[in-house]
């Protein structure tokens, strides 16, 4: 921008498009007969010859800018994605050979939000340079028009595992709610050493993060370079299934290990076990994902060129109130092909690694 004294670059963007998905099992549109190994044959599925693409209709408005001195730059985006003709496993109309079949549901899955990223060149000096960039993204998800014959559809998913809670489904996909909204009985404290759990489940919170953010910074001082990358997410709840199992004090009577805190608490072994809001925890976290400090030695001797020594670490630090291993939960607790989110059960713990090394070329 030649005329402006402030901005070296300022632009507006607008985009619109439709993308599709066809992720349904092969053959869903044809009737299939399956020959079992033990002298029987039966129809295997309910066919839907009208299956078609799932469409995501999205538009985006954006703003890019950079200041004249080159020291500050950034972008801002607002987006709106509307997925319709959702490929959905509907209950088959009994009597039928299977309990579900794929249809295109005329519901709308809305994902709306904004993203903001900013970069600063904080210090720009011959020997000392400091860059900082960050981004923040906010997303909200909502399922609309998820009805059949006028009534809201309610799908239950999110299997809770463990002794005494088998078959409990803790999340629901239903109209006017985010996907996988928690559907749990309320926890009402302890009475005489026994936990009190309400009789009926209710909507209990959102497992989908509302905000994601990241920070990256690089410092250069003469021959030293330090980079730090971190990020986090917030605005969601994690269901701690591990806690449901190990705080089940009656397990100790059967010779199973339990949580030491539960053992020392006033709760009695006869208190019972159940999935409830007692085990919902905030998932807000900030992690320093990786960091690297390096020293550029330069050329050493006749043959070794570009010698550089470094120490790098990943998964260095996590700041969170969540009591489980890792607030970034990635465990599949789906039920009947309906996905779940943020239910933590026996995850593989993330490891912190630190690497020392040298780089050079001959």
């Amino acid at each position: 921008m030649k005329q402006s004294k402030l901005f070296s670059n300022l632009g507006f963007r607008a985009t619109w498009g439709i993308t599709g998905s066809q992720e349904f099992p092969a053959g869903s549109s044809q009737e299939q007969f399956y020959f079992g190994s033990y002298n029987n044959a039966s129809q295997a599925n309910v066919a839907n010859p009208n299956l078609k693409w799932e469409q995501t209709n999205s538009y985006d408005l954006g703003l890019d800018f950079a200041l004249k001195n080159g020291r500050v730059w950034g972008t801002f985006d607002y987006y709106n994605k509307n997925t319709t003709n959702i490929l959905f496993q509907n209950s088959a109309i009994q009597p039928a050979p299977a309990t579900s079949y794929f249809i295109n549901l005329p519901a709308n899955l809305m994902n709306t939000g904004y993203e903001l990223s900013l970069g600063f060149n904080v210090i720009h000096h011959k020997d000392f340079n400091w860059d900082l960039t960050g981004y923040y993204a906010h997303n909200k998800n909502l399922l609309k028009n998820f009805t059949s014959n006028g009534a809201a559809i309610q799908i239950l998913t999110g299997q809770i595992s463990g002794q005494g809670v088998s078959g409990t489904l803790a999340q629901t996909i239903t109209n006017n709610m985010p996907i996988d909204e928690y559907w749990l009985k309320p926890f009402n404290g302890f009475v005489a050493g026994a936990q009190q759990i309400g009789a009926n489940p209710q909507f209990a919170g959102d497992p989908n993060p509302h905000s994601n953010y990241g920070i990256s910074t690089t410092l250069n001082y003469k021959k030293f370079t330090l980079t730090i990358n971190g990020g986090g997410a917030g605005g969601y709840l994690i269901y701690n299934n591990n806690a449901t199992n190990i705080s089940n004090i009656s397990g100790i009577t059967g010779g199973r290990n339990i949580d030491k805190n539960a053992y020392n608490s006033a709760e009695l072994p006869s208190s019972g076990v159940g999935a409830s809001t007692r085990f919902l925890e905030s998932g807000n976290f900030f992690k320093i994902r990786n960091s690297s400090l390096s020293y550029n030695i330069g050329n050493a001797g006749k043959y070794v060129k570009n010698l550089r020594a470094f120490v790098t670490g990943s998964n260095l630090l996590v700041i969170t109130k969540y009591t489980g291993f890792d607030p970034e939960v990635n465990v599949d607790k789906s039920s009947g092909n309906y996905p779940s989110r943020s239910i933590d059960y026996l995850p593989y713990p993330t490891s912190r690694t630190i690497t020392f090394g040298v780089n050079f070329s001959l």
Binding site: F33, F35, P97, A199, P269
Partner: protein
Amino acid sequence: MIKYKNIKLFAVIGLFMAVGCTKLNENLGSNLTSNQTATALGASGVGLLLQAAYVDLGTPFTAQDHIFCLEENTADYALVPTRGGDWDDNGVWRVLHNHTWDYTHADILGTFNSLNKLNFDATNVLAFQPSKQQAAEATVLRAIALYYLLDLYGQYPIRNPGDNLLNAPTVMTGAPAAQLIIDQVTAALPNLVSFSNGNAGQISKEAAEALLMRTYLNRGAWLNRTSPTFADADMQQVITLGNAIISSGKFSYASDYFSNFSASNGNSTENIFTYVNTSGVNANNSGPDAMYLMQAHYNQYIKYNPNAGWNGFSTVSDFYNSFGVNGKVMVGATLMASANPGVTAATDPKVGPYPDTALDTRIGGRYYPGLTNVSGETPGFQIGQQWGYGNSVVSPTIVADSDRKGHLLQFTPVIAANQIETNSNTLEMTGIRAEKYIPDMSNAGANYEGPSGNDIVILSYPDVVLMVAEAKLRAATPDAAGALTLVNALRAARGANPMAAPLTLLDNGTYANISSMVDNPNCLLAERGRELYWQETRRTDLIRFGVFNKIWQYKPTDDAHYNVFPIPQQALASNPNLVQNPGY
């Protein structure tokens, strides 16, 4: 120039894409389309489709979580108390016994779907070219599904063979629904084979007749569940069909009651129609081991199967006590159990140590060769101290069983009033256990946890005899003497003393709750309970006798709308012809 070439290139590519992306022809790999199947199967291959329908019987009738819990847990004599951290399962078992379920209950949905799968597969056989016998067998298999759907849910969806599965089928309810079952089974009768011993897994004429008897007998209850009335013509049909089965001579009482439910019950002389399982064979095995694992304690029989039991299902003391006759103490010490810890032998002469089980072989509780010598368990009702070959370590000699905390394992009749056990010293052993299906000890116990060989009994001869006796009592001119003869012949076969005349449907006089049968168990409803316990008919019987809503042990309240189960929410949402039952 370059720009022009590019435009032409894009235009050509665009044209190809536009034409190519409208239709996809897919070849299936290992499965066949319906047209290919019709050609591949031919006339003789339709038997494979029929076999698939037979296999579908396994799921609804076996294990604790389909028809079993809907018929037995909701009745007066079975429940699963929550034992500390076990069997809470989000309350699904407690609400069944309490009569507080709603339409989101998982087992109500599971049973609806598994019965309808049988409904569909049997209908599908008729869409190909079945022989007359195959079509008749498929029709009766479908009628079994329709009978249970009508009994449990008050309505059933039904398709014609070859219907488009994307369209909602018609739903039948009430009198036309019952008549359809009767008409279809009656039409199928001439084309069925006659029953032959050892072949109880195939639909025979006698099995179809037994199903018809059930339908005629229950028709009055389906039309009015709160106060059933019974047409005399229906009762005469029941008597005629039943007498035909009795006088055919094909069935007779076995000398050993539990042999009809053991792992080698394939040759039973009492079972009319069963789901066949074979010991050690996984193929089409429906998992009958669940029927005995579900009440066994973790430490019972650990020799090859540590922790095999699930320690759940129990029966109630009122039912156990109903094995007395006229409440009188028999010679030989028939002291009965009490659910009230405060009641002792001093205050009530019926209370004391657990009864001599020689009273009635159906109680079990005695040495059973093949079971007790191997595992220390006794069949039938297990109460008091249990014995076995070790608790945490296998012992070569028989020792007293203990629970997981080391207390002596003594099943007690007392269960917590709200079905939630909180006393940590006793929560593992509350509840009298009932082991009807004898554990499969074949192959040195290798099949104990499956695949076991117990055939699951769906229709049986004692049920037929008791239905004839009931129809005689309900007929316009009741034949109480004839009914009593039939019942006493059954009791004689079971080593029980005969009932005194007159035989009545319910105990003498009207009663406030079922536990009064303890004091006066000389009635047909009590006899059906004693004979057919754990055989998935109790709720139907209680509704037919008009007592399903009475208060009984561990069920403090009830309401008439619980006489029929709710249609599951998923089924309602997908089929607008289904109407939710009142009160849900």
